[in-house]
Symmetry: C2
Subunit: 252 residues, 2 copies
DNA sequence: TTGACATAAGTGGTATGACCACTGTATGGC
DNA sequence: GCCATACAGTGGTCATACCACTTATGTCAA
């Protein structure tokens, strides 16, 4: 992936060991010789065929598996996997996790993606998309008292909106930050679970967002969504203040 | 990275070979024993210390290098590298490249990120950020006639806006799609280079966006930006139509 | 005949030891 | 003092052997 096409014509032995394997794999994938689901030759055969040693071939295999392009199963063989977003998710999670307050900052990415997706959803969503969002809304109402399940339902609802936008790029990015988003969701729920009137608010806010999509009004939908985020932020801040205040006093 | 924290307490030998290496590496990174720039023990020493064979350790090393966490230099050793976005970029480019029309769809992600970032920029941008954007604007005006340099200047301008938003998550995502964005930029410039009044439009549109940020008016800034995108889309469509019409006729 | 079990072949997983190629340093002669 | 060679340490590669898992095949007993 990193290197360019310079060596595409060269199946020759000028390459440095593992590069030969990567080159072979890339080419085979691009010209259709290998498709997701295909089974590769065994390590012994392939290493012979590419004239590299088995350890070298295994290094390359392991790296490809790490990147999600191969699924290696003990005793069965190595199978080609389509590009898998989970790798991207892991990598992003790990990269961003280094910084403090990332759970707050990832909220900005969430707002960005959802606000654009909801606009698209107003134009592009089909009946199935709307039904999916509605279903998640029901699920959300059923799990109001459980921070864990509630957080997941919340995430599922918003994911359905993004998917309704029918933009592969937006969905991919959203999935890429999904791990951090889920954490953020449950963390927020745990903070705000005791707030006065939170149940009614959650239901109303999400329903209004949903109805705006059904009405196919992009500006209103985005506005509702932004409002939802702003209020959520406000609630969260108050809850944190309350929590700190409680810590300060004796908790009789 | 993929697995969770269950085995964090287990330095024991319950792990499957390569996992031991990953576990060690992850732990050492998280508790600060390893920092970017550090040199790892030699393969022979480390394999002994982790009680795995050298080939297994090398497989893990190769995978980590592939992911950008290690820089392995022949004859010198293996050095820890900070997370490198370029891996993410490559992966995203490769994953999304499979689908047709991705260059159009990635525009949705771009709009999403920039529209949110410009809102943040209105609140958070410092003088240095504004100066940076201004500088890119000048550069943009100087390269109006060169599709290549012009495309890059265009990209640089918008990147400066995103950076002015001071959100690590947004910047990271933007960089992740940067490769596709750059292609998109130059492709658009090549299409619209001959359009009547395009030079004046480009300057005016970008300047207005810039001035909105300076005025610190989020709603206006986002509106200007969306308008810019919409008009760009319109221009591009017209140009494509014109190009097709020209092909239909004899090009005397 | 049919079921369950044992066996064998093929696969990935690991280990060992040796050797090559590259790098930096130390040691020798000049 | 300086340069060139030799050496030690490193990653890079290889060949071989063996272990563990999966599957299919075949065999034996009910």
């Amino acid at each position: 992936m990193a290197t360019d096409m310079e060596e595409l014509q060269a199946d020759n032995d000028a390459l440095l060991g593992a590069e030969k394997v990567f080159s072979f794999f890339r080419k085979a994938l691009l010209d259709g010789r290998l498709k997701p689901g295909d089974r590769l030759l065994s390590e012994r055969e392939l290493s012979l065929s590419l004239s590299v040693s088995r350890p070298v071939l295994r290094e390359a295999f392991r790296a490809l598996a790490m990147l999600g392009f191969l699924d290696i199963r003990h005793g069965k063989g190595a199978y080609v996997k389509g590009p898998d977003i989970s790798v991207l998710t892991d990598f992003l999670t790990f990269s961003l996790a280094q910084q403090p307050d990332i759970l707050d900052d990832v909220m900005q990415a969430r707002i960005a993606i959802e606000c654009q997706a909801i606009r698209l959803a107003c134009e592009r969503a089909g009946d199935a998309d709307l039904a999916a969002i509605g279903g998640r809304l029901t699920r959300l109402m059923d799990t109001l008292d459980d921070p864990e399940a509630g957080g997941e339902a919340d995430y599922a609802f918003h994911l359905a909106i993004v998917e309704a936008g029918r933009s592969a790029a937006l969905v991919t990015l959203y999935q890429a930050i999904s791990e951090l988003l889920k954490r953020s969701h449950t963390a927020r729920r745990q903070l705000t679970v005791g707030v006065q009137g939170i149940r009614d608010y959650l239901v109303d806010a999400h329903r209004e967002v949903f109805l705006s999509i059904v009405a196919r009004d992009p500006d209103a939908a985005e506005a509702r969504l932004r409002e939802h985020f702003a209020i959520g932020d406000e609630l969260r801040r108050k809850s944190m203040l309350a929590a700190y205040a409680k810590i300060g006093r004796p908790d009789s």
